[in-house]
Symmetry: C2
Subunit: 153 residues, 2 copies
Amino acid sequence: MNNNNNNNNNSNSDSPLFGQIVAFTAAVHQVASDITKDVKSGTLTPVQYKILEYIAVSQPVTLSEISECMHMSMPNTSRELKKLTEKQLCAKVTDPADRRKQGITLSPAGEQMMGEAFLTIGRRFEERIMHLSDEERREIGLALELLQRKVFY
Amino acid sequence: MNNNNNNNNNSNSDSPLFGQIVAFTAAVHQVASDITKDVKSGTLTPVQYKILEYIAVSQPVTLSEISECMHMSMPNTSRELKKLTEKQLCAKVTDPADRRKQGITLSPAGEQMMGEAFLTIGRRFEERIMHLSDEERREIGLALELLQRKVFY
DNA sequence: CTCTTTACTTATCATTTGATAACAAAATCC
DNA sequence: GGATTTTGTTATCAAATGATAAGTAAAGAG
């Protein structure tokens, strides 16, 4: 009865791309979540793992950068980073040029942990694209480049 | 030549695609997070919003489906859904064919809330791709389709 | 009809995360 | 040199989320 207008409100008829992007984004999230499932050590909280991931890719980083990029407040960032440091997974080095700033890097143990995590992720990804030919991979590379440049910048 | 098709176990990131995918995935997450920032009503927790989003796209859904898809336990799913129902944002309808199951849909208020959210998201997305030509959009559509079919399935 | 399984609920507790106030040290501004 | 801004810390509190145990009602199996 009051089943009013049809659902499938996935779009916005302005842009047919929009619906496609929504579905695509959901798929990317889904796959990313599948592929990274259980890679993190049990002693890490999800946020802590994310932080390590970010440090691993962007090191050295400052606390403020982590804070901004991960959308968390400085106090909370500081707290989590302290825990990571206590777990010996990362190290803070005071910038000699500006001694307020701290360059944060992974410790050797942190490097190893994240190295293993990325290896697992890489293996799972390889499985997923195992069956693809060189030509297909080339196309995928181009598609990724295109989307990143024009949409996900 | 070191071609794919054989499963080389020492895989990790000798696939140049892997690094590209990592960066791409990060970019997608970043943009998605930017674009959906603050679209949710202040009365919703992040998880509750995610659930509503899922219901909106997939309704009607059962509790178990939400539970599985969102990676949360049945008790917790039940709790959050109860809160959403109390907030009048969704409705449970017992399946007459199997009265254990509950089809969950958005209530009119829920439809409206999510409709507005999607509209905002759509507008922000439009801004982002505003400057693109028809030809570019067509290419993007193709790229999305390719990636979704071959990588993010 | 009893036994088991499925789908979900309720209650409870621990942990994680978010938010805010108050502080400190180094750099920068004037 | 004193005020201000930047960068980070510590402490505390509230809320959100996760985990688990125990229960209910309906469906299905034998």
